[in-house]
Subunit: 88 residues, 2 copies
Amino acid sequence: MGFQDSFKALSDPTRRKIIELLKDKNMTAGDIVDQFQMTGASISHHLSVLKNAGLVTDDKQGKYIYYELNLSVVEEILAWLASLKEEK
Amino acid sequence: MGFQDSFKALSDPTRRKIIELLKDKNMTAGDIVDQFQMTGASISHHLSVLKNAGLVTDDKQGKYIYYELNLSVVEEILAWLASLKEEK
DNA sequence: AATACATTTAGACGTTTATCTAAGTATCTA
DNA sequence: TAGATACTTAGATAAACGTCTAAATGTATT
């Protein structure tokens, strides 16, 4: 985790789209896979990158794993970007 | 240019540090090189990635090229991140 | 005009990344 | 408990990336 991982995670368009999906509602891995033309293995990889960066959390419920957006990391990045605008 | 390029550009720590340096003052390529233990060629590459993403602009003055932070692209990214927090 | 200085461009090299297929793990259901 | 479903892990591959050295370009100075 940390800045490096967060920015790296956000640098891929598939992962940004996943984040946008999770903004509206929590979704299972399978639901997310359905939104892309990509194998489940690939999406699983992207989810693990996002999770590792702290941008999403997962919640296993029986057969399913629900993914959820974690806004606190988003806040950190927002803060860094906002600081660029100050006191020049 | 576009989101993709901006996020990719921000995903490297050297480039983020360059941006932080430029937040305080405009600098020549050489001034920037002096802040890193890396060849001028490598820094030049990073500057070109940042420029291509619209995050910095350059201003040639004779022998020197001054680099400057472009906040409008920072604003776009800020807006995208901020939108993740809304109306969930 | 010749040399020095500031910076970029070209080309090479090792590492990381995104994707795939195939196999593994875990949970549910008949 | 056997098979189906949901998801991940392992291993492979091609492309992208970050860095370097060497060479090129453009500008200033003498």
